[in-house]
């Protein structure tokens, strides 16, 4: 039942893409002396590669739909660049935000934001937004933050954070390390596991990766649509990543740290780089007890 509810949540999220004109209405024409300096540009789907090269793959892996790019200029000041990513779903916008999360101070913009060295990033509803300026001074920082607040206010929809987050042990992991995703490519950016998709991640899975404070191990929690899928992923992962552990759930890897995994219903819990066998074991058990 929880799986069905999870899908309904996503299915009910607005998925219609706004028209370009409507996206443009999220922006002011001028603010604090900065004026729109170039026509707005839009990139849909794989057109993103006309704007950025390999980095565009990251957004596509999060289900990216459309990008709006707007530049603002002010005489004798640096240009401000705005990028609004319509990610289609709130989970995708949240994921894109966590993908580059942990950069710096949290700001109260959108449903979660960060601002550091001239770059504001935040998510709200199905949008992930970046507002940036190359050289930051007080005036530029105020302009970037105000522009972010403007855009956030114009986005009326709110999104829900993925349900899987509630199974994480709050306070035990570095909040800046949290990455939410559903594709193997993103996992490999943050913690390279294998070229092949051993954990069978796909658009209908939910995955979250955090780094624990105590022993700096990595905790990966994956929720699959069915128990059968979780079981299949567990078997594949165990067979290829920890083949010597067929009789045990935890093994010592080449870096002298500990890796283990456990399946519980439609969840898979994996600990990488545990400080000791006991620490890895305890973390696996702790998370397993939290699962429904």
């Amino acid at each position: 039942m929880p799986v069905i509810l999870l899908f309904l949540t996503f299915a009910m999220t607005p998925s219609d893409t706004l028209t370009q004109t409507a996206m443009q209405e999220l922006l002011p024409t001028s603010l604090r002396g900065w004026d729109v300096s170039e026509p707005t540009r839009f990139y849909s789907g794989r057109e993103i590669f006309r704007y950025m090269d390999g980095a565009g793959e990251v957004y596509l892996a999060y289900g990216f739909r459309r990008l709006l790019v707007q530049r603002y200029a002010r005489p004798n000041h640096e240009e401000i660049l705005v990028e609004i990513f319509d990610m289609g779903l709130a989970r995708s916008a949240f994921g894109a935000f966590t993908n580059m999360g942990g950069r710096g101070p949290v700001v109260d913009i959108g449903q979660g934001g960060e601002f550091k060295t001239g770059l504001l990033s935040f998510w709200k509803g199905r949008y992930f937004v970046c507002v940036m300026i190359d050289r930051e001074d007080d005036e530029a920082a105020h302009a970037v933050l105000e522009l972010g607040k403007w855009i956030s206010a114009k986005i009326k929809e709110q999104g829900s954070k993925p349900d899987i987050l509630r199974f994480l042990p709050d306070g035990s992991y570095a909040s800046s390390s949290l990455r939410y995703f559903f594709r193997n490519e993103i996992l490999n950016i943050h913690y390279y596991v294998a070229d092949a998709n051993l954990l069978h991640l796909h658009e209908q899975t939910d995955a979250v990766l955090v780094r624990m404070i105590s022993d700096k191990s990595y905790l990966l929690l994956v929720q699959y649509p069915t128990s059968e899928q979780a079981d299949s992923a567990c078997i594949d992962f165990s067979r290829h990543y920890m083949p010597e552990g067929r009789e045990k759930r935890i093994i010592q890897t080449e870096n002298k740290k500990w890796t283990g995994c456990v399946r519980h219903k439609n969840f898979l819990v994996v600990v990488f780089d545990g400080g000791s066998q006991a620490q890895a074991q305890n973390l696996l058990e702790d998370i397993r007890r939290r699962l429904p």
């Binding site: 090269d53 980095a55 060295t117 294998a194 990543y241 890897t253």
Partner: protein
Amino acid sequence: MSESTMTRRDFLRTTGAAALVGTARMSLLAEQNAQNKARIILIRHENVVDKDGKVDRAIIEEMLDEAMVKLFNVESADKAWTQIVKPSDVVGIKTNVWRYLRTPLELEDAMKRRIMAAGVQEKNIDIDDRGVLSNPIFAQATALINARPMRAHNWSGVGGCLKNYIMFTPNPPDYHPESCIDLGALWKLPIVNGKTRLNILVMLTPQFHCLGPHHFDKEFTWPYKGMIVGTDPVAVDAVGLKIIEAQRTVYFKEETPMRPPVRHIKAAQEKHGIGIADPRRIDLVKVGWTEGILI
């Protein structure tokens, strides 16, 4: 699911030199192939950039000249340039204009002037990055010079000299699979194949870490104040990667592999045969400032 797949554990098993062992099947430069070794110059100067990252024009020119003399074992930089370009050449200087960390204009200018001094007419030289495919000089180029800064990259692990040629394909996404493992194949495209005479990996303020697509944060750069110069783009990138990895260990206070792992440098040697990634086959010549050299 295939029975054999590369995993993190395979990387751990082969950390260090053994990871880079392989046989170069084909090299861009016949001479290097014969010697079976790549000669690379790492040159550094304490004052080439100031605390704001501003480049000292005179010093970077001096570094370029000294590196060329050492690389080609000649008495003067002029002679070195005449070894790689001739007056009849049409020369494209492939640069990189990423807004946060571009190829220094001072370096671009210095290279152009030295190419002109070697006898190439100014009208036969151009500097370009994103427009190379529509640039008539690059279309007719008989010689290419490749220069860009080293930086961490969210999809390929790092962007260096090998990746700088992505703009020579009309279909960059074709080279994205497996963390851009096949960037070496770019170097066999007709527009560039066999034309590259010099690679300069700019390490003045390299970026050793990034969080997210096209992310830049000055905190993740450091004043290394160096350049890596060579004719082999694979060797140049391999040395640059070692330095970036060493800096990550210094900064994060633990071994912190690149994310995602860098696949394309080793593959450029082993799969595409365009140069040498094996450190045992790289003759690294260190010139200048040595403090914090990391290699």
